[in-house]
């Protein structure tokens, strides 16, 4: 398994797209925090934004790690390298497993970098606006931790989506459509169950204190997202083992 994970790591290192995708996450976090602060009318008399709300952007960048996971898996079908991959390792479930482990780890690293950039951006804005930045804000750290976990989980889910759909363009379009539109529509249909859907579970895990949405508790969001990740992983591995590679 160690060999397989290192092989998958070499695959990611030898092309440019994973680096570009991972670089986008911290960038989006910094832009998001800057936008929030500059649009909220925060000043010395009006602390309109909580630190945890700014750092909630760490979790929102999980959209990027979702794409990362999809590209890592469905990209093999797109470029038809999957044939050589399975000729080298006929045990396909282990190949998918190695991708899941590696992408979850890459998602966590992306989360850590996003958190570091996000904290730095927030601290700079706060001091620019004349507020002391409270490094001991427990809610902020829980938001950051939840955001990192969300990024890791969505990377793994991305691998699952990529293995199930195999069509790179279709998988990316489907994932974006789900987050931008479909989950909202389904959420309206199912009412109170909406908070159990994947993006809502992620929001519960990584949202700040001011979130107005009706979400699961933070730990609950974490458990639900972990269940989704495991379910996608199991489905991806069993389907990949059975299907023909043509």
């Amino acid at each position: 398994m160690n060999t397989l994970i290192r092989t998958e790591f070499l695959k990611l290192r030898t092309v440019r797209s994973p680096w570009i995708i991972l670089g986008a996450a911290p960038l989006l976090v910094a832009v998001g925090i800057s936008g929030l602060v500059s649009s909220s009318g925060i000043d010395a008399r009006n602390p309109a934004v909580k630190q945890s709300d700014a750092l909630a952007h760490v979790g929102l960048a999980s959209l990027v790690t979702l794409l990362f996971g999809i590209v890592a898996m469905a990209g093999e079908y797109r470029h038809r390298t999957i044939t050589d991959t399975y000729l080298t390792t006929p045990a396909r479930g282990r190949v998918v497993g190695a991708k899941l482990v590696l992408c979850a780890a890459a998602g966590a690293v992306s989360g850590l970098i996003s958190a570091a950039i996000g904290l730095a951006a927030a601290a700079i804005w706060w001091s620019a606006k004349g507020f002391p930045f409270a490094w001991s804000d427990g809610e902020m750290w829980r938001t950051v931790g939840g955001g990192i976990a969300w990024q890791a989980a969505f990377a793994a889910i991305g691998v699952g989506v990529g293995a199930l759909l195999r069509n790179l363009v279709g998988a990316i379009a489907g994932a974006l459509a789900w987050i931008a539109l479909v989950e909202g529509l389904v959420g309206q249909l199912v009412g109170n169950f909406a908070r159990w859907l994947p993006f809502s579970a992620g929001q519960a895990l990584g949202a700040g204190a001011n979130s107005s949405q009706h979400l699961l508790p933070r730990w609950g969001g974490g458990v639900v997202l972990a269940v989704y990740a495991v379910a996608f992983a199991v489905a991806a591995m069993s389907v990949s083992v059975r299907r023909d590679v043509a």
């Binding site: 290192r6 990209g75 038809r80 044939t83 000729l87």
Partner: protein
């Protein structure tokens, strides 16, 4: 030497039967041509042999084992498939490094196979900038990484220019001379006729012929000479069967081109052309692959 055996191999796609109860043996250490028109089921058969496609029935074995049962598949079987691809943004050398690492092969093998297919100079360029011939060679390099005893090549001649084709033939001969078992598919008999020892011919998913090329039909030689009558009687005396196809041209069976040239030179007969034609082979191939229900 490791051989390949296919037994009762069948693949249905919905109501379409792509491969129909196929059975043949590929002896070790020989070059076997796997021939048939497009859509005959060659690629599906090879993909089943390599464990990529699950047979509906039957089995395809390499040295008595299914591909998935091979302990270190890259060291036993090398394959160049049509559908094999490369990431356009990845360098050729990196593509091979990935395969070597996954297969537990030492990094120096990457340099060795790059040299073997003469791709070393381009190894550090991204594959997106490779020509078709260079991609073919990269695919071959990948197949040779583990120094396997069995090579499976699916339509390797497709899209190659004449120089590329000649290079491919030379490489196949060299690989065969090293004692490897080679199974090479093609839809054009003449591409492989000079290289293969045996042929397996399929059409519409079913076996039409399996055996040595010589059993398929006799090779004929076309000779043009102003002294056609003299040459004809000379060759007939040597057991050849000669047919006059024109005033100064003969079609000869039973005596090969080298022998004809030698005999003519001895007797001072001038030849204006001497060519090995695959006419008989081609005719047999067409007969075997056309209208499979009646043949």
């Amino acid at each position: 030497m490791t051989g390949v055996s296919v037994r009762g191999l069948t693949k249905h796609y919905g109501r379409v039967t792509a491969v129909d109860d196929l059975a043949f043996e590929v002896p070790g250490g020989a070059v076997t041509g796997f021939l048939g028109p497009n859509g005959a089921g060659k690629t599906t058969t090879l993909r089943m042999l390599l464990g990529l496609v699950r047979p509906s029935a039957g089995e395809a074995l390499i040295g008595g084992r299914r591909y998935a049962q091979l302990e270190r598949p890259r060291t036993e079987v090398g394959a160049v498939l049509e559908a094999t691809g490369f990431h356009p943004g990845r360098r050729g050398r990196d593509h091979l490094r990935i395969l070597a690492r996954g297969a537990g092969l030492p990094g120096r093998r990457v340099d060795e196979v790059l040299d073997r297919v003469e791709l070393t100079a381009a190894a550090d360029r991204r594959v997106g900038g490779y020509s078709l011939g260079m991609r073919q060679r990269l695919g071959l390099a990948a197949a040779l990484l583990g120094d396997p005893g069995v090579l499976v090549l699916d339509e390797p001649a497709n899209g190659l220019d004449p120089a590329g084709m000649a290079a491919l033939r030379d490489l196949l001969r060299a690989l065969a001379a090293e004692g490897r078992t080679i199974l090479v598919s093609s839809h054009v008999l003449s591409e492989v006729a000079q290289t293969v020892d045996r042929v397996v011919i399929v059409s519409a998913g079913r076996l039409r012929f399996a055996g040595p090329v010589s059993e398929l039909g006799e090779r004929s030689v076309t000779v043009r000479t102003p002294q056609a009558a003299d040459l004809a009687s000379l060759l007939e005396a040597r057991g050849g069967r000669v047919e006059a196809t024109g005033e100064s041209s003969l079609e000869v069976r039973g005596v090969d081109a080298e022998e004809i040239g030698r005999l003519a030179a001895q007797k001072g007969i001038a030849l204006s052309s001497l060519s090995e034609g695959g006419t008989a082979l081609e005719a047999a191939f067409l007969r075997l692959t056309a209208a499979p229900e009646e043949a």
